[in-house]
């Protein structure tokens, strides 16, 4: 289909954005930032950047997704600032893991991780499960949570995340391992849906 023939989506005026997309963007920001104030700031910054850049919006998709694209950058900016303020230091346990035989030889932390206490796959079609999943991500300790959000949820490359957080790829691997480990424990403790255990 040629560009001229592509159907353009009507652009909702900025005055209506809060009612139309406010909750959507706020929920999205909360799932990444866990802090209500930071999420509100993120929504506000997204709307303001959207108004500024509105001339560049080509109408080829719903403006909601365009705003969400802007918000992704705002979330990365927010995490970058938070990381800068507290600086990520590697602790001795994590350093030990990087120096361990298993990591050097095969890139793993252990040959025998604890198995899942329930099968999460059974619940992937249940919206409640994903809300619990979001709450559990919020409880993962920083900087593992920040690394997980950037690398896994926001699809930043290893190089980008290492640059933002000022860490090595090996340490990023450790942080992602820690985040997965905690997320599993938290889901096992918090998911009480049908057939949870």
């Amino acid at each position: 289909m040629s560009e001229e023939n592509q159907e353009k989506v009507a652009i909702a005026p900025p005055e209506t954005w809060v009612d139309r997309y406010g909750d959507y963007l706020y929920g999205f920001a909360m799932s990444r930032l866990r802090n209500a104030e930071a999420a509100q700031d993120c929504v506000q910054d997204t709307f303001l950047a959207g108004i500024k850049a509105l001339d560049r919006f080509d109408g080829s998709r719903d403006i909601k997704f365009w705003l969400r694209g802007i918000m992704r950058n705002k979330i990365v900016d927010h995490i970058r600032k938070a990381v800068k303020e507290k600086k990520v230091d590697i602790d001795s346990e994590d350093e030990g893991l990087i120096e361990s035989f298993w990591f050097k030889y095969s890139g793993i932390a252990t040959t025998n991780p604890d198995p899942w206490q329930f099968n999460p796959r059974k619940h992937y079609d249940n919206g409640e499960f994903w809300i619990v999943f979001e709450k559990c991500i919020a409880e993962v300790k920083d900087p593992a949570r920040e690394a997980f959000v950037l690398r896994v949820l926001e699809d930043q490359t290893t190089e980008e995340v290492c640059k933002v957080m000022g860490i090595t790829p090996n340490y990023l691997w450790v942080l992602l391992h820690r985040a997965r480990e905690q997320l599993k424990t938290l889901l096992e403790a918090n998911w009480t849906g049908k057939d949870a255990k």
């Binding site: 809060v18 009612d19 706020y26 799932s31 709307f47 303001l48 509105l54 095969s106 896994v152």
Partner: protein
């Protein structure tokens, strides 16, 4: 065939579902058969499956997610109105 280290490296760089078909096949085969890295990397793959599914479901989670409070909404509306007028 992959080594354990190559499997771990591939999984740390990319969601295994995004790998080319043959690479994905050999990676899954390695993880299924390997006594050393199989359990660990199997859990990494399971975590990747979970996060992929989460992102696919995200668009439908809005009704269940927290909402902006009314006061903040009003303040935001006011701000957007003034910014939109400035731009006009």
């Amino acid at each position: 065939m992959f080594t354990c280290k190559q499997v771990s490296n591939a999984l740390s760089k990319e969601d295994y579902e995004k790998l080319p078909v043959l690479r994905k096949f050999f990676l899954k085969l390695h993880v299924k058969l390997c006594l050393f890295c199989g359990k660990f990397n199997g859990q990494v793959m399971q975590s990747q499956d979970m996060c992929r599914c989460y992102k696919e479901h995200e668009e439908h989670l809005e009704p269940l997610r927290p909402k902006l409070d009314a006061e903040k909404k009003e303040a935001l509306k006011e701000l957007l109105r003034s910014q939109a007028q400035l731009k006009d």
